[in-house]
């Protein structure tokens, strides 16, 4: 009957504000799976994802939704598990977008 309870009983006298407990637990949940690294089920993980043919060479386009807020976004396509393809608006200044634009530019220059 191993008990590692000392830590939970730690008494630092001051009643910590509720938010600290929340932030601690948030950090734990963010880290939990990262450190564990379970192997994927070999039967499921085929480990190959291809960009579907219809999307090859799709250049990032500025969103044209008529919504002003969206003018600084580009349209990406989110691939779903069952072949679903959904438009996703991604801000121009995120690295997701800038990297793709860079790569395309380089390819175009070559």
């Amino acid at each position: 009957e191993l008990k590692f309870l000392g830590e939970m009983q730690e008494d630092d006298d001051d009643d910590e504000p509720e938010d600290d407990a929340f932030v601690d637990e948030y950090n734990r949940m963010m880290q939990e799976s990262a450190k564990r690294a379970p192997r994927p089920d070999p039967k499921i993980a085929q480990g190959e994802i291809a960009v579907p043919f219809n999307l090859r060479g799709s250049a990032p386009k500025t969103a044209a939704t008529g919504n002003n807020e969206d003018s600084d976004k580009v349209v990406f396509t989110l691939l779903g598990r069952k072949g679903k393809q959904q438009p996703l608006l991604v801000p121009k200044d995120t690295s997701l977008v800038t990297k793709v634009i860079q790569t395309r530019k380089r390819e175009d220059d070559e």
Binding site: E1, L2, K3, F4, L5, G6, E7, M8, Q9, E10, D11, P17, E18, F22, E25, Y26, N27, M29, M30, Q31, E32, S33, A34, K35, R36, P38, R39, P40, D41, K43, I44, A45, G47, E48, I49, A50, V51, R56, G57, S58, A59, P60, K73, F76, T77, L78, L79, G80, R81, Q86, P87, L88, L89, V90, P91, S95, L96, V100, T103, R104
Partner: protein, 814 residues
Amino acid sequence: EEDEEEGFVDCDLPEHACKYCGIHDPASVVHCVSCNRWFCNSRGNTSGSHIINHLVRAKHKEVTLHRDSPLGETLLECYNCGSRNSFVLGFIPAKADSVVVLLCRQPCATQAIGKDQEWDLSQWQPLINDRCFLPWLVKIPSDKEQLRARQITAQQINKLEELWRANPTAALDDLDKPGVDEEVQEVLLRYEDAYQYQNIFGPLVKLEADYDKRMKEAQTCDGIVVRWDVALNQKRLAYFPFPRQDIRLMVGDELKLRYAGELHRAWEGIGHVTKIPNNVSDDVCLELRQSTGVPTECTHNFLIEFVWKATTFDRMQNAMKTFAVDETSVSGYVYHRLLGHELEQQTIKCTLPKRFSAPNLPELNHSQVYAVKTVLQRPLSLIQGPPGTGKTVTSAAIVYHLAKQNQGQVLVCAPSNIAVDQLTEKIHRTGLKVLRVAAKSREAIDSSVSFLALHNQVRNMDSFPELQKLMQLKDEQGELSAADEKRFRTLRRACEQELLANADVICCTCVGAGDPRLAKMRFRSVLIDESTQATEPECMVPLVLGTKQAVLVGDHCQLGPVVMCKKAAQAGLSQSLFERLVILGLRPIRLQVQYRMHPCLSEFPSNTFYEGSLQNGVTAAERLQPGVDFPWPVPELPMFFYATTGQEEISASGTSYLNRTEAANVEKVVTRFLKAGINPDQIGIITPYEGQRAYLVQYMQYNGQLRNQLYEELEVTSVDAFQGREKDFIILSCVRSNEHQGIGFLNDPRRLNVALTRAKYGVIVIGNPRVLSKQPLWNNLLVHFKEKKCLVEGPLNNLKPCLIQFSKPRPLIN
């Protein structure tokens, strides 16, 4: 438009409105799949967005987006493996196309996916960042919307989440209703009657039960990889590494194993833990109740959940109720003494034995004889057994003589199974007929006294041939027909009752005394060992079975009971009955001769915790190991304080501390011991922090100079886990080394006492003297080591006196 300016009214809100603040723009809300509630992505006045607040507090992970949101109704899951844990999902873009997929961080986003290198793994972008969902995925409501929404504080959120666990339909308004945040009453020293006692302890036990339930049920672990096996009894076994070191898992605990259905239809099965992680393997073994329908062809993507059982807490509540309503639960004298009433000391007339030592046990010393003799004549007594003073032998002798008084069977309890087993074994040696009653869930567990266990004795009862036959049939076939099963149960009950009735002594855990199999039995005499590690209500369970004579054994200068709920602990649930009786003026009989430690090791604990009363039953010569070449700074004093000033760090889990320099020094000391011919099982490494424990185990595995296997056999554990045990050599790694903060729970003098008194032959304390000396008790310890010329630093083969200036101790606040 105008109506809304009036503010939100709950009943008018759509179903997808944020349960905290009411915001209901479909682009701003997220649906929690686990509990079917919606939350928005605004922070309000809290440190995370509402949806994140909810997911973290409720430990939920799966979400979908609203059908009217820009993306439409979408379940967020890993494209590759299907994991739905939002906390590990993130976007990966294609390198040259405007395409993204969602992948979990581990393992999918870290292994190559796609031979043609179409995806840019370096660009993994987590779905949740800075404690909210990516704002371009789930819109953050505008300031105007947020201002119009219901304002909710982090504290209210927390209470609401707590309320939902009891009542899923509760709303924010319910927080204001009475009864939600009642203050608990603190424990008293004296109680008017048993009803008042029950009224105060009942709610505290409930608090602890609720906390335990919440903790257990909130814990789900996914991504479990299972290895299947079959036990000798044909039961299906699942082995898997247990991912959460912060959860206390015990043999006998129930877990639910689930398969969500990717390669097999959805399945779930309940089982109990028969093996917990140890130094050799991190695997848990779960024995499943039902062997049929188990998807043994699958190995990955299982999930575990905890199954909470109320039994322990129900038994305590029942015991307090019995104490209140049943006049025969304890004698009048014991009743008043337990409640703290002033009474004249009573004596019991008994024929004192000529010889106080019990057959086949070591001869008792003078303080032990005194204890036995006194206890036999008193209806209520306390025995204080400092470390190594022969508490178990004394207890066994007391039980022996109590049983020989011919006043009925003696009930012997302790809070932990290990302690019960140790005492059972000693009592058995005296020749008494002992029966060990263990919980059903623990029957499969082997111990040194398994042969004395009730369920095993039942198997050997020749006087029940029909039962034997049915048992054999059940073993062979796995189950019996309904009629046979009924007959089997009747016979087994009869057999158990016969065995119980014929025993001189019955041993079980405190909570085990509430076992239905003991329900009709009465015990005039009860001995509770390690009673200072039990809560009061726990102690009441064995006491209310008719006690006229009670013996509580323990040591209130060592660690007390474990109470997880802070509120209940602060209200006094962590004070043992033993302790309260001491405060009330009942003087414990102290065992005074210690047989464990080298005299130089017992000096400081004796002076600090036992008013210098400990005498040494061993000589220095008996505790020196001549052949062992070890660089003790003073050869005749096998102890030193190894000054180390390495920095403490927060461990990878973010919830604990570690100290790499200390770990390196622990390895050097251990290696030196091993080279000197000490076996790994003679060495115990104690550290108060789980982070350091995990790091030490790992560090020695990879950096130990000698064979790996030697380091694997070392026991590295917490102070708390070492209570009640001993080793030849103890190395204590203190970890905390921070100039500005406290030293955490090294502050508890009882924990220091336990840590310092585990070793027979030698103790090495590794820590930062400047930091530790701020605490008055540690300051004394350091002065003690310094005076003995045992405060040293430098390489192990060239230890030099450490001349570091101590800090001025802060005044002791109690």
